[in-house]
Symmetry: C2
Subunit: 441 residues, 2 copies
């Protein structure tokens, strides 16, 4: 059942009926939101669709997972971010497909939405290299719920260890395995080690949380493969100094409720976190266009989908090579640059001019936090490490947050963390009402 006339952006929509060019943007991450921002003042009608009501600052999601920040400190209601833009309609909805022949986006509930220009910025989920059965044992980190799930598992492991009398079971409860040595894996491992060694010890009576093992397993030859080699080395040594065991060159071949197997070795653990692989959203499948091994759309140099100049795809959901032949990394600045580029192409076309030059990615730098006063920054020519890098990392992240309120709030949380070694959100929540008291027998 198609009811395109019934819904915003459809024929009944006040703005759409003015005959304006209709832009539909799917996904309100860094890329999609940037496209919408950059189209301000352009005479188009925009519909921004997302499955969630909030834009998420993913670079700090690991801090929610490790109890350092509250969910609301890194998330904003999308429609509020765009409340001043009367030509933008925000839609909380799931997209199930695109009918490119009639230029229509299909929604889960049977609704549909016509477009003149479509921008797909639908991102990625974590992926398990064909082992989806590992997910219950090794949650990944992409949404706020992922983060509160991981936070619950981490904190519950310590709680259960406190009550466990069997030494082997206790050891498994106090063993934390992080699979994947990219920035997320490194940041998770470092923060969990500090949680166990600095934050938690005074609060427990039966266990010494400093005895917890934090094991980071990376299949490749070094951690932070996207950084210069000496920064990888520094990160590796820093992790070991704060208590993380780093395993390189060995892939995980099994995840279960008991732990992991890597390179033939069995490691008993009750808490495995997945930071190893991602798979693109099914945008390529919606469009029926070529996709790469990770499910990403292989786009043209102007970020359009092959054969569909009115359809753009940007951000983590696409693959495109930078001028030096390196793939454009799946990070926020890349998605934002692409969002800005697409807005420019749309503006150029509306003016009846020819398209601008192909998209050109400019890599500003890579940042990763390892621990307190420990970070690495790779600006290409300039490489920083240690305390200075850590301060720059913190200031940069506060700068990139949206709005004074969240900047202030995150700054205060970090200040408390810095001065008192306390985490502001050590909550075990279940996301649903607690079970009722047992009924009277």
């Amino acid at each position: 059942m198609e009811r395109s006339a019934d819904i915003p952006g459809g024929k009944d929509n006040a703005v759409a009926t003015t005959g304006r060019h209709r832009v539909v943007v799917v996904g309100a991450g860094f890329g999609g939101l940037e496209t919408v921002h950059r189209l301000a003042g352009v005479p188009v009608s925009i519909t921004l669709i997302d499955r969630r009501n909030h834009h998420l600052f993913q670079p700090l999601l690991y801090q929610v997972a490790t109890a350092s920040l509250a969910t609301s400190e890194i998330a904003w209601p999308i429609r509020h971010l765009l409340s001043g833009r009367r030509e933008v309609t925000t839609l909380l909805a799931s997209v199930t497909g695109v009918d490119v022949a009639v230029r229509r986006v299909l929604l889960e509930d049977g609704d549909a939405l016509d477009y003149d220009t479509l921008v797909l910025a639908t991102g990625v989920r974590h992926a398990y290299f064909g082992h989806d059965e590992w997910e219950p044992f090794a949650p990944g980190l992409k949404t706020l719920e992922d983060a509160t799930t991981i936070r619950r598992r981490l904190l519950l492991a310590f709680e259960r260890a406190e009550r466990e009398s069997d030494p082997q079971r206790r050891a498994a409860l106090l063993t934390f395995v992080i699979v994947g040595g990219g920035p997320t894996g490194v940041e998770l491992a470092g923060t969990i080690a500090e949680l166990a060694r600095v934050t938690l010890p005074p609060d427990f009576r039966n266990i010494d949380t400093r005895a917890a093992r934090v094991v980071l397993i990376e299949a490749g030859p070094r951690v932070l493969a996207g950084f210069a080699e000496d920064l990888s080395d520094y990160a590796h040594r820093s992790l070991e100094r704060i208590g993380v065991e780093v395993v390189l060159g060995r892939a995980v071949s099994e995840c279960s409720a008991d732990g992991v197997i890597y390179g033939g070795e069995v490691l008993k653990s009750n808490t495995i976190l997945w930071a190893a692989g991602v798979r693109a959203s099914p945008a390529a499948e919606w469009l029926g266009v070529p996709l790469d091994r990770a499910g990403r759309v292989i786009v043209e140099p102007d970020l359009t989908v092959p054969g569909r100049p009115e359809v753009f795809a940007i951000g983590d959901t696409v693959t495109i090579a930078a001028p030096d032949g390196q793939p454009v990394p799946g990070i926020a600045p890349a998605a934002k640059q692409q969002g800005r580029y697409v807005a420019d192409v749309i503006k150029t076309r509306l003016r009846g001019e020819t398209s601008p030059a192909p998209f050109h990615y400019k890599h500003a730098g890579s940042l990763a936090q390892i621990g307190k006063r420990l970070a690495v920054i790779d600006f290409g020519r300039i490489k920083l490490r240690g305390a200075l890098a850590w301060w720059i990392w913190g200031i940069a992240h506060i700068y990139f947050l949206i709005g004074v309120r969240n900047r202030l709030s995150v700054a205060i949380s970090w200040l408390w963390n810095y001065l008192r070694d306390q985490r502001s959100s050590r909550l075990i929540t279940q996301g649903r009402s607690a079970p009722e008291y047992p009924k009277q027998p």
Copy 2:
């Protein structure tokens, strides 16, 4: 299977083996926590058991439910609050019963815990007057998860209304029913009305959120029955002024997915919130002692359980009359006074002295917020209303929060709310990982 020797507080426990008097406190709400705080410096070994890892500032829970505050702003990890008290062991566990004959608390997982003195401070849950089947349609508000569930339902109702073209269905989505006109009901109704009338209007394109109906249904003759009558009248008029429809003297006879029936009248609504009744935790059933209609333990004047001088019960889970014959209200100050009294009795007994005078409840006052610059305070002789009462209400609540960090954080959230009419936590979260992208067909 009993493994009391295996767990903290059991025979293996380092502190317990010193032969100290063992106090077990069940419940880390206002009452239980106060008991533990007031036993500081007393040569006892204390075990504090709670099903949750956090102490919750329930008086502000409605602000989490209405997106004004973040969960972590009103919750603290219990074991961190007591980290400096080496003689206190915190246990995350569910109690399933008490074996009073052998003085032993039974835990869900088969463990057990011996006590010399037991303090039950297990609180209440919302209750449906024998209509438990209403719960899925009319969630109540007692836990953080209750609050995020209500927040999700509230925000989703507006989101769905924005996409709904059928006028009747849209009206039902924009009708919010609050059952119960006590402080929680009044505070929820007032805050939801302000959300719809002040915060949300600029963010929506297809609906006018100011058209939302907020209906407060109270079976009794007035709202805020615990306050002086002129303050009830003031609250009633204030609610109406900010857009709440107040229905008095009519009980709800049906809650369903379609709405409510009250006094024979049908009101279509997709969002019903329950603030009408509570039922005590099953402490009375654990003990096999007399209980009142709401399941509360009827305690002796010294807050001990009849026939069991070593077992105390305090807070919402008990019923006791104040000197004027009025029942002691189920509010935080009452629970704290009882917690302090019980600590005093324990101290007196340990000194070998006779028990102090019976518990005497001192009512300091009642406070309720209705809306921005609207509150009522009933100090008995002094009655306040309006803006002054609202400022006092705000300052008092910030004062009673724990720790500088949370006070600062709540103050900033409220400041933003006050100055910008914005809510800091407008997040729709599901408490579990988002559904995966649909698989490739």
